[in-house]
Structures are given as structure tokens and as C-alpha cells.
Amino acid sequence: MIRIENVSFARGGTEILRDVSLELPSGGVTAIVGPNGAGKSTLLSLIGRLQPLQAGRITVGGHAVDSTPGAELAKVLAILRQDNGVASRLRVRELVAFGRFPHSRGRLSNEDRAHVAASLAAFGLDAFAERFVETLSGGQRQRALIAMAFCQDTPCLLLDEPLNNLDMFHARDLMRRLRAAADERGRTVVAVLHDINHAAAYADRIVAMKDGRVVADGPPAELMTPETLERVFGHRIRVTTIDGRPVALHHL
């Protein structure tokens, strides 16, 4: 579904991505992990055509991201950026409804409205629906933006650190929804995650990046070893097993 071939990217003389190739099949949750500055956000923004490709090729659902018209691509992939300073005086309902724009072009059908209502409910935003986005807390705002991306209802969903600002309840809730979106609707979800345990518990596959390269790639059970984690993050991490799942004690 998402095919990345030999993508390199440089900014001001420094290489940010070096010859990255990945193939992510349709349906499923892929977590991208790695230390700060590894190039995760850059890779996601290239898939989401927010920056022009410099070298290599990326296709999503067969559409080359650099040559497919933007309006068409917006029906195929939705992207949530890590730090979008969206502090607008839009009501939460209005913001989420803009997620339907690729389909509605501004004229909401009943189907669009149903999507908006479902997204608001799914992310616990009913109580805030008529509030201005700028009056929300960081976590509430993050949920509104995630709801907007969900509402776009695309086969492919790219989320850059979606757990930012979320409390434990909503973080777990979001991961379960991502899982459900993949399992029940066949959506392809790619999320940059900082908590390796969230990745291990909910993703089918973990891609670890470091210094602009993919340094490890596989199912959680394979990746969650002290050796691999040390190679990626630079310090020794104990890994135990709880209920058959690997758990990294990275905070100890």
C-alpha cells in the first residue's frame, strides 16, 4: 500500500534521510520509533507530500505522492503533523468537519455529518463540540486534530506522535481505535510513537530509525530485545514479558 523506494533527503547540507526503502502492505498498524532527530517526522511528511521529494520515490495506494493531484491524494491519505500550531477560533465541530473537505468540498452531506458526529463521539469530544479550539487544553486539542484526521476517512492514516499531550486513558483509547481501524476497516495506519510499549502492544510491525536510516524492522516480539533497543536508543533496556507480551522497562 505504501511503498518507499530509495528516499534520501537533505536540508542545508545535512542528510536527514539516507536511502530509506520500506514497503507497508495494506491494512495494519505500523509504529515508527527512534531517538529525537532520527528523521521520523521528515519521512512521514514526505509520505504525506508536505515536503517535496528530493531523491527516490513514494507511492501510496499506487499514487505517486509527488505527481498525483493534491485533491485526489487527500482522499487516499490523511496526515497529522507533530506540531501544527492550530489554535484557531473555530468550533471543534467545525474543525472536525473540515476533515470531510476532500469529499464534501464544503457542502456537507448527511453522510459527511454522520462521519463528523461519529468522530466527535469516538474521541470524547461531544462535550467540547461547540467550544473554540483555542480554548481547549493541549490534550483536548490533540484529540480534536486526531478526530479531524479520522474524519477524512482515508485508507491510509499517518500520525506523527499522536499520543502527545494525551493522558493515559486517552492514549490507550487512541491505540485501541487505531487497532480497530486496521482490523475492522482494513485501514493502513502509520504512527510515530515515543512509547515503545504502546508500539509493542498495538502495532503489527515496528520500524526503528536512527540517523536517517531504518536500523530495525519487524514484529514487536522480534524487535523488543535489549540488544536491538540498545542499538536504536543508545542505552541498555531491560525487557520482560507480561501476559506473553514484551514490555520494555525503559524508565529504569
Binding site: 507530500r49 485533491a71 496526515i79 492550530v86 477560533r89 474543525l95 473537505f101 484526521a149
Partner: protein, 322 residues
């Protein structure tokens, strides 16, 4: 649903009524007696109405609505509530443009001069936005501050050229908003400003998305550059028209959108018609005020708006915390 409709239309009727009332007052107030009683028997009074009062009133309404919506659009493009065409270089560029047209092609017609002014406004505003988008978003006051300095530099440069070319009187006309000179045959270009308001309303959803930033815009499939250009055209054409026909009118583009979006929010589909209304009423009201404060002398609308607009803006800043 009907409750919402009633809530939306009741203020609508009230605003429409208020504007209509101002319109009628504007037709009868001023030097030259056109009281309602005289209108019943004196054809001379009617001539005054059609040759001068009606054009003047329409000019105030059209310019006010256009400037207010241009301010709203500019705030969406710059992603900053505190910019407007008169303080961010757009009007100064337009004045420089019409000055240049007057220097290079003195015989060109008003529409041609306006086109030159619009082109200059487009260029000047593009530079402003390019810089504004590079300023750190966590310091929102840098953008209007830069706009003020940029506008002042452009304005001074143009004024220097005007002074050198002995065109300073004309320059004053372009930079000081006044409706007293508006006559039939001189204001009709301003109807284009109504067309720009319609264009903004037509593109309201996309302009709102634009105000959420480049990444969100591209993510939702917008042609970001094309939409930016459309917004620039709306802002520049309205500014050029008002500069050429009536002169710079300050604060309308700042106060009207802020009053409206504070209550209704940033969704342009909802805010644009109200902003046009408030801008028209504010401008017309200030023009009427300018006619009666020192009757029979007139105070230019730009001067009145400088005071009224500044007071409203301070009230917006400090008066009420939403």
C-alpha cells in the same frame, strides 16, 4: 433547527434594519438641505440626492464592506488577527502604484490607474506575507509590528517620490480617506469591491482551511499556492479600489473582523457576511458622524475612524476577555 434559524435571522433583520436606517440618514444629512419635507415637492433636492448623496452613501457601504472583508481575508492569509491592509503595506503599495501610474502615464484612465495600484498592492502584500510566514508563530505581535514598519517605510518612500515630483496634493488624496468628493461617475468602480466580497464568500471554506496553515491545507488537498494567490487578489483589489477612489480608510479592516470573529468564530462562511455588514455600518456611521460633528464643516471619515476605530480596538484588546 427552527430555533437556530430564528437565532440566526433575528440579528440578521436587526443588522439589516440598522444599516437601512443609516443609509436613509446618510441621504438626508449634510450641507445642502434635503430634508424629507423638501423632497416631497422640490426636484432640486432629488437631484442632490442622486448626484451626490446616494453615490456617497453607496461608496461608504461598498468601501466599508470591502475593507472589512479584505481585513478578514488578510488575517486568514497571515494567520494573525492584528494585521490589516492599511497597516501592513498593502495600501501603501497601492498608493505607490497609483503614484507611479500618474508619473509614467499621466493620461491613463481611473480603471487603468486602479489596475496599476492593484498590481503594486499584490507585490507589496506578497512580500509582507512571505516575511510574516517566516516569523516565529509563538510571538504573534511580531507580525503586525513588522507590518507597521514595512508599511511606514513603503509609505515614506512613496511620499518622498510624490514630494520630488510635486504630486504631494494627489498623494494626500490617496492616503486620506474621504467621501465628500464622491460623486456620480466617480464611485462606480467600487462595485468591484462588492464582487471581491462575493469572491471571498464563494471561497470561504478554502480560505478558512488556509488559516489553519500550510500543512493542514495540503493535507486536505487544497492547492495552497493558488488559494494564497486568490486571497491576495481579493485583498489587493479592494485596497487599490479604496485608495484610488476614496483614499486610505484605517481600522475598518482590523476592527470589523475582530468584532465578528470574537463572537462567531473564524469560520469565514459564517463570519464573512457579518464582517461585511459591520464594516459597512461602521464606515457609513463614521462618515455621517464626520458630517455632523462640526456642521457645516466636514471631518474626513479617515480621521473619525482613526479615533472611533482605535477606541473600539482598545476595547477589544482590554475591555472584554472572551
Amino acid at each position: 433547527m427552527t430555533a437556530i434559524a430564528a437565532r440566526l435571522t433575528r440579528p440578521g433583520f436587526a443588522a439589516g434594519g440598522a444599516l437601512a436606517l443609516l443609509f436613509v440618514v446618510s441621504l438626508v444629512v449634510g450641507v445642502g438641505d434635503v430634508s424629507l419635507s423638501r423632497l416631497t415637492h422640490d426636484p432640486e433636492a432629488w437631484r442632490l440626492v442622486f448626484a451626490s448623496r446616494l453615490p456617497r452613501t453607496l461608496a461608504a457601504v461598498l468601501a466599508g464592506a470591502g475593507l472589512a472583508v479584505a481585513g478578514l481575508v488578510m488575517q486568514a492569509l497571515a494567520r494573525n488577527r492584528f494585521v490589516e491592509p492599511t497597516t501592513a503595506g498593502t495600501d501603501q503599495s497601492a498608493a505607490a502604484g497609483v503614484l507611479l501610474m500618474t508619473l509614467l502615464w499621466p493620461s491613463s484612465s481611473l480603471p487603468v490607474k486602479t489596475a496599476g495600484a492593484a498590481a503594486a498592492a499584490l507585490a507589496g502584500t506578497s512580500v509582507f506575507l512571505a516575511v510574516a510566514h517566516r516569523l516565529p508563530p509563538n510571538q504573534p505581535f511580531l507580525v503586525p509590528l513588522f507590518g507597521l514598519i514595512y508599511g511606514a517605510v513603503l509609505g515614506s518612500a512613496a511620499m518622498f517620490v510624490a514630494w520630488q515630483a510635486d504630486l504631494i496634493q494627489f498623494f494626500e488624496i490617496w492616503t486620506r480617506g474621504e467621501f465628500s468628493g464622491v460623486l456620480r461617475g466617480r464611485y462606480e468602480l467600487l462595485w468591484l469591491s462588492a464582487a471581491m466580497v462575493a469572491l471571498a464568500w464563494w471561497a470561504a471554506d478554502r480560505l478558512t482551511i488556509l488559516s489553519l496553515g500550510r500543512d493542514v491545507s495540503i493535507g486536505l488537498g487544497l492547492d495552497y499556492q493558488a488559494m494564497m494567490r486568490l486571497g491576495l487578489v481579493i485583498v489587493s483589489v479592494v485596497s487599490a479600489l479604496t485608495v484610488v477612489v476614496v483614499g486610505m480608510i484605517p481600522f475598518v479592516g482590523l476592527v470589523a473582523p475582530n468584532l465578528v470573529t470574537r463572537a462567531l468564530g473564524d469560520d469565514l462562511r459564517r463570519a464573512a457576511p457579518w464582517t461585511a455588514f459591520v464594516g459597512a455600518a461602521l464606515t457609513l456611521g463614521c462618515d455621517i458622524l464626520g458630517r455632523i460633528v462640526r456642521y457645516p464643516y466636514e471631518i474626513p471619515v479617515g480621521t473619525i475612524l482613526g479615533a472611533v476605530g482605535a477606541a473600539l480596538f482598545l476595547w477589544l484588546l482590554f475591555g472584554r476577555r472572551a
